[in-house]
């Protein structure tokens, strides 16, 4: 019965949004409970769906309601259920559930407590729809609503200038990608005449789309994915988005919304696989982002920003995997990363909750004694992401590296390994600075967070440890990779050893630098490579560049257009022409001499002209 109820989770979340939005002000607690209850129901439904899905041979189900019908063009709400969407559904409902439970405690006492949960419901509804819907236009529909949810949650504390600016930045940046995405979708529609994903694949496989259109449209779709997944030129919104409440970062900017881009590319993989140039581009962007964001994560002092850059970096890793058509490894890493990163963000939230919102890691240190649960779970998360065997992060990263090695060869693998090294380094740096070392005096009164917050942490930590089981073969379950892509996972021992060594080197390096406090290396770096350090600390000045482009070019241009409109179109085009008529009137009125004879003569003259004209014609 599970599969036939797939349409229920988005609907109940949507209903929950409406209900809680209407009553959020009056009864905030009730709205939070409604929201948590609906997401819990969704999660339970997911379990039913999963069991049903595993036990049946069904690849996808159809379930359609018309949204717009214009003669032969139908846009219908339908569900595409395959292993990919089931997986994503599980990740989303699980993380959303845990984050919402966590938020009950975290957001307690906030003046817009109820509203927070209603937006969460909206977001959950939209996100679930994105992964379930079988239709590109409606995918875009939900995709945009996801953006709206993110906008509302980042700008949740809109009184803060930074928060409202960050929300705006996030929305506009992703919107630029969305413009491309929409154009891409419509281009596909233009040549296939349908939005239905499986029909599009069918047509594309039979060569129904010309190569140029295919390349352009997949490129545009990838631009949309880049916007949502914060890939290189569009990455600027994600670190700023940390202005939102921390659980929001855990949900949206670690596990779900940013994963939507990866999901989109994975979903459209049959199209991408027909466009090799675009795949190369995907690899390039993914790899570049992987390393590029990793460098920035090393130098940031804000705990959430470090995590944000780490997220960008890992999303780059997934994109790279997708570029090599490694859908299964990318999605596996997506899940593992989502869970670990959610854990890290929630841990950071737990720190901030106890430290009055402090996010600067230089003011932390030695917190492992004060907040043991937070600390341990946090360490588990970071070790998992750093790729230490046998935590799940290791397996997923390794699976991607293997794909890269097999498809791209050593030339791509080496930079990817460098990125992996960076990723281990900054994770350990973060952990060591925050939880080890000496306790700062200001932090002596810090204690452990309440149970509602630590419980999700513990659950997530357990998952981070045991998720790797998914990869293994257990009875009838042949492993996650098989689940997604139909072929079994395999391990390359050499690669395992090598990447493990790298991770341990990073661990030791971080230990020397941050625990033993051997400042030598850092001082050397900071003094000799000052320009480089500043460059990275200032995020490569990309934000400034964009700000410059927006302020100096776009806004200037807009002001020019506005001025042009007022001065040229209006004042010269309209007012001057009316003035010229007035001027003409001033001159022409002199004809009115008031002398009757003149009038009589001109009248006769006019009469003659009329007659003659008539006669000639």
């Amino acid at each position: 019965m599970g599969i036939n109820l797939t349409y229920i989770p988005p609907i109940i979340c949507g209903v929950s949004f409406v209900l809680t939005a209407l009553f959020a002000r009056k009864v905030p607690l009730a709205s939070s409970l409604i929201s948590v209850f609906t997401i819990l129901c969704s999660f339970i439904l997911f379990i039913f769906i999963l069991t049903d899905f595993l036990s049946s041979d069904l690849n996808s189900i159809k379930f359609s309601i018309d949204w717009i019908v214009v003669s032969d063009m139908r846009i219908t709400w339908g569900i595409l259920l395959d292993s990919l969407s089931v997986t994503m559904l599980g990740l989303i409902t699980l993380v959303a559930l845990l984050v919402q439970i966590y938020s009950i405690s975290y957001m307690k006492g906030d003046s817009r407590f109820g509203w927070y949960f209603s937006v969460h419901s909206l977001f959950a509804a939209a996100m679930i729809t994105v992964v379930l819907v079988d239709n590109l236009i409606l995918l875009y529909f939900a995709w945009e609503l996801v953006g709206l949810g993110s906008y509302l949650l980042i700008g949740f504390w809109y009184e803060k200038r930074a928060a409202s600016e960050a929300a705006k930045k996030a929305f506009i940046t992703t919107r630029i990608g969305d413009v491309a995405l929409l154009i891409g979708i419509i281009l596909i529609f233009k040549s296939t005449g349908t939005f239905d994903i499986s029909s599009i694949f069918h047509i594309a496989r039979n060569g129904g789309i010309s190569e140029n259109i295919l390349t352009i449209s997949t490129f545009l779709i990838f631009l949309g994915a880049m916007g949502k997944s914060a890939q290189f030129p569009f990455h600027v919104w994600l670190p700023d988005a940390m202005e939102g409440p921390t659980p929001v970062s855990a949900l949206i900017h670690a596990a779900t919304m940013v994963a939507a881009g990866v999901y989109l590319v994975a979903r459209m993989m049959p199209l991408f696989s027909l466009a090799p140039y675009v795949l190369d581009f995907v690899v390039f962007i993914g790899l570049f982002t992987f390393i590029f964001a990793g460098t920035m994560a090393i130098v940031m002092h804000d705990i959430k920003r470090v995590l944000a850059y780490s997220t960008i970096s890992h999303l780059g890793l997934m994109m790279m995997s997708l570029g090599f058509m490694g859908v299964a490894s990318a999605i596996f890493h997506l899940i593992v990363h989502g869970i670990s990163k959610a854990l890290l963000f929630l841990g950071a939230g737990s720190l901030m909750h106890e430290m009055d919102g402090e996010t600067d890691i230089r003011k932390m240190g030695g917190l492992i004694n004060k907040m043991p649960i937070t600390a341990i779970t946090f360490i588990i998360g970071s070790v998992s992401l750093a790729g230490i065997i046998p935590l799940s992060g290791f397996f997923s990263k390794d699976e991607i590296l293997l794909t890269v090695f097999e498809k791209g060869g050593i030339l791509i693998l080496l930079p990817a390994l460098a990125g992996a090294f960076l990723s281990s380094l900054y994770m350990f740096r973060l952990t060591f600075i925050t939880f080890f070392g000496s306790l700062k005096n200001d932090n002596s009164k810090v204690g452990e967070s309440p149970i509602l917050m630590t419980l999700p942490l513990i659950l997530l930590a357990l998952l981070a440890i045991f998720m790797s089981i998914l990869l293994l073969e257990i009875s009838t379950f042949k492993g996650f990779i098989y689940f997604i892509s139909g072929h079994k996972a395999h391990l390359n021992l050499l690669l395992i050893v090598f990447s493990s060594i790298l991770s341990f080197v990073a661990l030791i390096l971080a230990w020397f630098i941050y625990i033993k406090d051997s400042k030598y290396l850092i001082d050397w770096y900071k003094s000799k490579m000052k320009w480089n350090y500043n460059l990275i600390l200032n995020k490569y000045y990309i934000d400034e560049l964009y700000q410059y482009i927006i302020n100096q070019i776009i806004i200037r241009f807009a002001q020019f257009v506005a001025l042009f409109d007022r001065l040229v179109v209006n004042d010269i085009g309209v007012d001057r022409s009316s003035l010229s008529i007035r001027f003409l009137g001033l001159r022409l009125k002199l004809i009115q001499t008031g002398k009757m004879h003149g009038y009589a003569i001109s009248m006769l003259f006019g009469f003659l002209i009329l007659i003659l004209t008539w006669a000639i014609l």
Binding site: H597, I601, L604, F605, L608, I611, A615
Partner: protein, 163 residues
């Protein structure tokens, strides 16, 4: 044939009268030339077998109109009539008028209807039509006359301290 000769004579009178109106240097002569032209017109009417209208013409134009104009002359100063007679750009006017005349005559010749079939309009028929079919316009015309009468009085009435 005789009627044609009479027509030419009367036409000459009419045209002499008209010319007198526009060329005379004395306004009294001018008004009497007008009288001549109007009476000539009445003669033409008779020639064209419209006796009733000829009588009307004599009564109204020859009687009333010229009288009124003479009254107007009497009520205004005519000492400086010389300066009022002609203006210095008369050549343009003359040229334009001649042109108009030529155009008119050409037009007349082009739409020429060859007929010499003079006939009477029966007075009884005429009066029947006038009062039956044209009754309402006729009444309106009388109303216009009344309004004009009142209007003339209003225009000429001295309004207290208005000066």
């Amino acid at each position: 044939m005789i009627s044609l000769i009479i027509f030419y004579i009367i036409s000459a009178l009419v045209l002499i009268g008209s010319a007198g109106v526009i060329f005379s240097r004395n306004i009294v002569y001018a008004s009497f030339s007008l009288l001549l032209a109007l009476l000539g017109t009445a003669g033409i009417f008779v020639l064209l077998l419209a006796e009733f209208l000829a009588i009307v013409q004599i009564l109204i134009y020859g009687g009333a109109v010229v009288t009124v104009i003479l009254f107007a002359l009497m009520l205004t100063k005519i000492d400086d009539f010389r300066s009022l007679s002609n203006i210095n750009y008369w050549p343009i006017s003359a040229f334009l008028t001649l042109l108009a005349l030529i155009v008119l005559i050409i037009g007349i010749y082009q739409t020429k209807i060859d007929t010499q079939n003079l006939g009477l309009v029966k007075f009884s028929k005429f009066s029947n039509d006038l009062f039956e079919y044209w009754g309402i316009p006729f009444e309106i015309a009388s109303l216009v006359l009344l309004v004009a009468l009142i209007g003339a009085i209003v225009i000429l009435k001295d309004r207290g301290n208005d000066s």
